[in-house]
Assembly symmetry: C2
Amino acid sequence: MSALKGASAPIHFGSFIVTPQVFLTTPLSFALVNLKPILPGHVLVSPRRVVPRVTDLTPAETSDLFLTVRRVGRMVERVYGASSLNIAVQDGVYAGQSVPHVHAHIIPRKAADLDHRGGTDAVYDLLDGEEGDLAKAYKDAKTGDADKTGDEPANGTDAQTRRSKFPAVDNEQRRPRGEAEMKAEAEMLAREMENEPLD
Amino acid sequence: MSALKGASAPIHFGSFIVTPQVFLTTPLSFALVNLKPILPGHVLVSPRRVVPRVTDLTPAETSDLFLTVRRVGRMVERVYGASSLNIAVQDGVYAGQSVPHVHAHIIPRKAADLDHRGGTDAVYDLLDGEEGDLAKAYKDAKTGDADKTGDEPANGTDAQTRRSKFPAVDNEQRRPRGEAEMKAEAEMLAREMENEPLD
């Protein structure tokens, strides 16, 4: 069941069906809410076609993807009361990509939002953890393990680094959300996108 | 003096003139080598128009920018023998942006390239340091301080975090390069772009 009125065919993120999390589709891209957002409004934008690398995209897909990033970024910045955005693509395994389907992270930022977790740039440590566990999190959610805290490290070093910086917040932060919560957010963001200028 | 044949008007990155570092211009964007690359082939792509935020770009500028990112990314990945790319935009001050001119970082990645500095995701700690000091580095270079190690922290917490992880590499890594070295690399990359398919 989709958060989008009139949407029919299931939407894939890698090998996972994410239709209830999708709040926007364009001719060549889609935007979805996150299983484990780093900060409120942390969303992903992907091409409809499941390809691993940016270079695998056609020029038309590349334009559509980043025009969607720009428009969705403006919307989440407004809706979540932020004033900056981190935009990041881990393009390939050796850049930290875990789901082999191009995806841009958009993370709304505001003053001092991560001060209690290590400062502005702590977003990257959190992103590392999130991205490292994205495939695992989707697999857990699929097999009904969505209530697990999911804090087993995919990579001992990363998890240790992260933990030493943000010991208390980490487990709480990284608990995957349930389908109902994600679908409600996707429906809210789908409505907000209707207020967002096309250009 | 430009690394590009036939280029005339000076090219600005924020308030800095970076013409000798530029290896590609398109109708609406340009690509430049980095004063302090995190890894070999770490380059930047910016719109010609000096605006701080992605939302300030027109749709045509957005498309041109990211089509350029895709094409330049493919080129640096090939030339530097990499197999993945980190692509990151710090869009606004609270996302860590220091030069108020939209710029996408492209960082070629390969297996185990940062193992001695903390693993795959150490790129973000290094990016934090680099980005945090980008404005400072350009100011130093402009006033002839390019040979300084530039390791005074812009932000005590970040610098301490970075240092505790990569104490030995940090000072060495973050030494700004000279104009001649950057111009030679820009000339080499300008030639390589000529071999890169347009699409």
